[in-house]
């Protein structure tokens, strides 16, 4: 019993040791991109309209697999979009539209 509690404490400690510094780094005041404020599913729209091509690409490709992150630094927008181009098989046209959507 004692060893299981020790194991649990060690595990929680490991997670905390990794997560806390990362949260601190992520919360630094970079200019951030908030996907949800740009028209990602918010749940409060009865007749959602696709505002532009980039929003369409986001809803059809990114949201198909995962929930949108709360926000991220604008400095990595291009890198994220390029990663998505590979993972979601986006064309260069869709890649540019998505980048434009994030930059609005």
């Amino acid at each position: 019993m004692r060893s299981s509690i020790l194991a649990l404490c060690a595990a929680l400690g490991t997670v905390a040791a990794v997560a806390v510094p990362l949260m601190a780094v992520q919360d630094q005041p970079h200019p951030t991109v908030s996907v949800q404020s740009k028209g990602a599913p918010s749940g409060n729209s009865k007749s959602p309209e696709v505002k532009d091509e980039g929003e369409r690409v986001f809803k059809q490709n990114c949201a198909r697999c995962h929930n949108s992150p709360n926000g991220f630094s604008s400095r990595i927008t291009g890198t994220i979009v390029r990663h998505m181009r590979v993972r979601a098989n986006l064309s260069s046209h869709d890649e540019q539209a998505l980048l434009k959507f994030f930059n609005q």
Partner: protein
């Protein structure tokens, strides 16, 4: 112990190499700063009354190199605490999941080289990251078509072949060499996947094929169907795959209760999930890791999306097999991080 330390140091070294090598890349565009993403989590699994505790850390690095190249890699480090006769046993695991270079040749062609996730079916490429998957466990039939470990070492061609407002078609084709290297273990194989997507119906259907070209040569075939509602409040995913010794299917549904509030409201953060799966064994010449007997399993999950990219995963599963029925309880908390490697240029 020594091999574990070696693996961990290789993993850390590779990830550091990815960022450190390019710290000289000072002329990168403002939005092309290399990123570190991934997840840190703590999960528990109780199978038949025995509980295991698993802290897991899965970093991902992506580094653009000019306009046409990008290097990306994902790794995994986990500690496994499993019950023993007295107390708990403790084991480590650290490895690269993949390390690949992407060359964007044309609008419709990307060339991938290195160690990559095999594009057979959808789960391996899309849902294995712990910050994306709705359940901690992968489907029972997941190994069908993924050779020995879901990783290829060689080359891959992929991209969108056709992209129209009413439909699109994308493809991925791979060839993998055989490798016994502990960090880049792969089987000699080839295969591919093709998918149609119909935007207006938000429906994706596709098929996959794979051939193992070492030892006893085998063919694998699979198909998938994904559908989501217009606002992505409800998603349905499914796959079926068949090998020469076994076959199986899974389908999964998840939803966010929009009717009760916005995504960031208490109710809107709740995400009920359900998965049903079955595997069938054709013979006992098992070349896969599917159960040795026909197995059925139903998974009921309730996830909660906390602020700051943190997610709580809980699930109960009931598994039925002639070797014995079993209850599986799982809980976990996963934090997803995403930030630039360095400050970068101001826009």
């Amino acid at each position: 112990m020594r091999s574990i330390l070696l693996s961990a140091s290789r993993l850390a070294g590779s990830l550091l190499l990815l960022s450190a090598t390019l710290s000289a890349w000072t002329n990168a565009k403002a939005q092309d700063t290399p990123l570190i993403s991934g997840s840190a989590g703590f999960v528990t699994n109780t199978t038949g009354g025995d509980t295991s505790y698993i802290p897991v850390f899965a970093p991902l690095a992506a580094l653009p190199l000019g306009q046409h190249l990008m290097v990306e890699s994902r790794g995994g480090v986990l500690e496994l605490f499993t019950p023993a006769a007295s107390g708990y046993n403790h084991s480590h695991y650290a490895a690269l999941t993949y390390l690949q270079g992407n060359y964007f040749a044309t609008s419709h062609l990307t060339v991938v080289a290195g160690s990559y996730l095999l594009p057979f079916g959808t789960y391996n490429e899309r849902l294995t990251p712990t910050w994306i998957g709705n359940f901690q466990d992968e489907p029972l039939m997941e190994s069908l078509g993924l050779m020995s470990g879901g990783i290829g070492l060689g080359g891959q061609l992929r991209g969108p072949l056709v992209s129209r407002p009413r439909y699109s078609f994308d493809y991925a084709a791979w060839y993998s060499a055989r490798s016994a290297n502990s960090q880049f273990k792969a089987d000699r194989s080839s295969g591919g996947r093709g998918s149609f997507y119909f935007p207006q119906q938000r429906l994706e259907v596709g098929a996959s094929f794979g051939r193992l070209m070492q030892g006893t040569h085998e063919n694998f075939a699979g198909a998938h169907l994904w559908w989501q509602t217009k606002e992505a409040g409800f998603r349905f995913r499914s796959e079926v795959a068949r090998g020469q010794h076994a076959y199986g299917y899974w389908f999964e549904a998840d939803g966010r209760p929009f009717a009760f509030g916005k995504l960031d409201s208490f109710a809107g953060r709740i995400e009920p999930v359900f998965r049903m799966q079955q595997t069938f064994r054709i013979d006992n010449v098992a070349s896969d890791s599917l159960p040795s007997v026909n197995t059925q399993r139903a998974d009921f999950g309730l996830d909660y999306n906390l602020p700051h990219n943190t997610r709580i995963l809980t699930s109960y599963s009931r598994q039925f097999a002639s070797t014995g029925n079993v209850n599986i309880w799982e809980t976990g908390i996963v934090y997803r991080f995403l930030f630039p490697v360095w400050k970068g240029h101001k826009q």
